[in-house]
């Protein structure tokens, strides 16, 4: 009986012309040469370096989130292409095709679930990647540009998720997208409902929202546009940016930390590639199990006339939706997202602290870490409030409270500078109308300005400017505890007097202390302590971002405590702050 010589068969196969034509290199002997040849000679692996610093291998150091984001992107491409075989992007068919995927197509439900959950997971992993890179100072010179590309990739990840949200054409989809795209209509100058939109001649059928929707409402054209953006246009751009992102990681080298004396690099094959495969396998398994256990949501078919109550954005945008309660759409929907993106991209150029490069160094980077984590915390706390604590009519319901309890109607709101809310704004157009019609009195329901807006503009501008300049102008470091204590004492005194007069309740007083204290500590004491010596341009950009963040907290406080709708409103140009 002939024996089966496995080693000989293996050798014959590897030496065959067919094998040799496909795989470069000879018999694997696991020499350092083989290991490097495996990286250099393989088109899929050649973006890696041959050797890498051992610290770049540790999960605790990298969190593995960048790699996992890329794996999720690949998974989404695969499942997405599969779904495209059964999905037709038209108003009449889209919802039915999703139903077919759920109930009639073999593995359709699993594919849709995987696509949905992988998309949600990718949003989380991309944010976690950003947090880890920030905390270990991975964006510092010479990696500033790659951080900026990363911020763009984060934005595009959210945009991909948002465009995909519409495709099932159910109530969840159409209303999230209606709200999201109406924010585009509030863009200054370019949107028909935004500041200066009317001045620029914007109408419902020629502004930036019209191009996004391909019409005046979320309809057939919108579905097709979002389909093309979601499946072709945006993934292409993401792919191009990913190539750039990876190439710069390679060129700027892994791990920014200063070299230690006896540090020796290790082979990428197998040490790094092995970890990548483990991460990919773990991620795939995680998504698979999640998709088996839990179904993607699908509500009733889209009805452009009736809004579900309550109606919410996708969870990662619910924080912005929550801010929309306190702010005019042009601020919460356009200005703040824009500031967040630009501010994130500016971080490497304003944080020139040479310490904490490539290491988690809390002590050396107190200001940067505190401010960044404050922003991240605000983003997720707002998401929690919007997602878990908002019920019918978007009223506040604690998570344990039944939605069947009817909430009292919210109290009327008012504006500080400008006409009283609850009445029709007094506009320039109306003034012309009154003059031309020779009317002697204002129309019913119109109340003239309480405080004139010309007073509000310099007052708010002055307050903003003073908050920006003050920390730098005080040369000597203040005693933080003393100043904060004094400030809180003053607020408590004011609240106490107001409470004694019956103007402010205990809850409102607590809000004043909480928001006022937060804004004062993070917006004045910390900058005064840490960045007053920064050069003027960097100082001004940093403080601009800090003061804007604090202004969000203060505006929330104004609404919660005093029912102030807008601090300043100029109806003639649709500008509300």
């Amino acid at each position: 009986m002939p024996t089966l010589d496995i080693e000989k068969i293996k050798k014959d196969v590897i030496d065959s012309q067919l094998w040799r034509s496909v795989f470069r290199g000879g018999v694997w002997k696991d020499t350092p040469r083989d290991r490097s040849a495996h990286i250099i000679g393989n088109v899929w692996l050649h973006l890696h370096p041959v050797k890498v610093r051992p610290r770049a291998l540790s999960w605790l150091y990298t969190w593995g989130m960048g790699g996992i984001s890329f794996v999720l992107y690949l998974l989404l491409t695969l499942t997405g292409v599969a779904l495209m075989f059964y999905y037709r992007p038209t108003v009449g068919l889209a919802y039915r095709d999703i139903k077919d995927l759920e109930f009639a197509i073999t593995l359709g439900k699993l594919l849709r679930n995987s696509h949905r959950w992988a998309a949600q997971a990718m949003v989380v992993s991309v944010i976690a990647h950003m947090v880890s890179v920030f905390l270990r100072g991975g964006y510092k010179k010479p990696r500033e540009f790659n951080w900026s590309i990363g911020v763009l990739l984060l934005t595009l990840t959210l945009f991909l998720s948002f465009t995909g949200y519409l495709l099932p054409w159910d109530q969840l989809a159409i209303w999230a997208v209606t709200v999201g795209t109406n924010m585009a209509g509030a863009t200054p100058f370019l949107g028909n409902e935004g500041p200066f939109g009317g001045v620029m001649g914007m109408h419902i059928n020629n502004d930036v929202r019209f191009t996004l929707l391909g019409g005046t409402m979320v309809g057939e054209n919108t579905l097709l546009r979002f389909y093309v953006l979601h499946c072709v246009a945006v993934p292409l751009v993401v792919g191009i940016l990913l190539i750039l992102h990876f190439w710069r990681i390679r060129k700027d080298s892994f791990s920014a930390a200063p070299y230690q004396a006896n540090e020796e690099k290790v082979d990428v094959w197998p040490h790094l590639v092995k970890r990548e495969y483990i991460g990919a396998a773990g991620t795939t398994l995680f998504i698979l199990v999640w998709s088996i256990l839990m179904n993607a949501p699908l509500e009733s078919v889209a009805n452009p006339n009736v809004t579900p109550n309550p109606s919410k954005a996708p969870w990662y945008f619910v924080g912005l939706q929550e801010l929309l309660v306190y702010f005019d759409p042009w601020i919460a929907g356009v200005l703040l997202p824009g500031l967040i993106i630009v501010g994130l991209m500016a971080i490497p150029y304003i944080d020139t602290n040479p310490k904490g490069v490539g290491t988690y160094a809390w002590k050396d980077r107190k200001f940067a870490n505190t401010m960044f984590l404050l922003g991240i915390a605000m983003w997720f706390i707002l998401i929690y409030i919007g997602y878990a604590c908002r019920g019918p009519n978007y009223a506040f319901y604690p998570p344990w409270q039944s939605w069947f309890i009817l909430k009292a109607a919210p109290p009327p709101t008012w504006n500080v500078f400008g006409p009283l809310a609850g009445t029709t704004p007094f506009t320039i157009g109306m003034a012309f109308q009154i003059i031309s019609a020779k009317m002697t009195a204002l129309p019913a329901g119109v109340v003239p300005n309480l405080f004139p807006m010309w007073l509000g503009i310099p007052l708010i501008g002055g307050l903003f400017g003073a908050s920006m300049l003050l920390p730098k102008l005080i040369q000597k470091e203040l005693d933080g505890k003393l100043v904060l204590g004094g400030f809180l004492g003053a607020v408590a005194l004011v609240a106490g007097i107001a409470a004694a007069l019956g103007k402010v309740g205990p809850v409102s007083g607590a809000f004043m202390l909480f928001f006022g204290g937060l804004a004062f500590y993070f917006g004045f004491i910390l900058p005064q302590r840490y960045i007053r010596t920064l050069d003027w341009p960097r100082y001004l950009v940093t403080m601009g971002l800090v003061v804007c963040t604090m202004a969000i907290l203060l505006k929330m406080c104004c609404r919660l405590t005093f029912n102030i709708k807008y601090v300043l409103t100029i109806p003639a140009i649709s500008l509300n702050i």
């Binding site: 191009t211 005046t216 309660v325």
Partner: protein, 186 residues
């Protein structure tokens, strides 16, 4: 300047097709000017392409439903807010003691459809909590302006004809024709 030697002496750049100086037949366009023109043409091409691409994204014809519809006989409405057309036409017909007006059911904040709460006598938006009176004026929440009223007319047969493409929200104007139909029931 590091121009090649065979170029003419620097001439005023404005005189590009200037008459040839003297001895040598100089190029009609200097190398520097030629490069400027070339790059400018390329930049102009890209700018025009971008503008054309942007224009391409604005559809010239849109196939959206007509905004005008017959809301049925005026006799069929009682005093108060009718939600009869909300599902199909996104509109409330409101009858008061002196006549009719029609409110477009689109929240002026971000375009959700508010709900009518008769017991509290107000419209409430489910998306960000804006509240409106029966007149359409904002009384709470973030909405920046009142609800829009649509053009409404009484046909010779006694039907209400509503046109949502003609809108008005200005007090003093919105209570007049064509945004209000005088109607006192017999």
């Amino acid at each position: 300047m590091s121009e090649p030697a065979n170029n003419p002496a620097p001439t005023p750049p404005a005189a590009a097709p200037a008459p040839a100086p003297a001895a040598k037949p100089a190029a009609a366009v200097s190398r520097g000017d030629f490069l400027w023109m070339g790059w400018s043409a390329l930049a102009a091409f890209f700018a025009a392409s971008a503008a054309a691409g942007a224009r391409f994204m604005f559809p010239n014809v849109i196939y959206e439903p007509s905004q005008k519809f017959n809301a049925g006989s005026a006799k069929g409405y009682d005093i108060g807010v009718s939600t009869k057309w909300l599902n199909e036409q996104r509109l409330w017909i409101i009858r008061n003691p002196t006549g009719f007006y029609a409110l477009w059911a689109r929240c002026t904040h971000l375009g959700c459809t508010p709900n009518w709460w008769g017991d509290q006598n107000r419209f409430k938006c489910p998306c960000h909590g804006s509240n409106y009176t029966i007149e359409g004026d904002v009384i709470a929440g973030p909405a920046p302006r009142p609800l829009w009223r649509a053009k409404v007319e009484l046909s010779p047969l006694g039907d209400l004809i509503v046109d949502k493409s003609v809108l008005e929200d200005m007090p003093g104007k919105r209570e007049l024709k064509p945004f209000f139909v005088d109607y006192v029931s017999a």
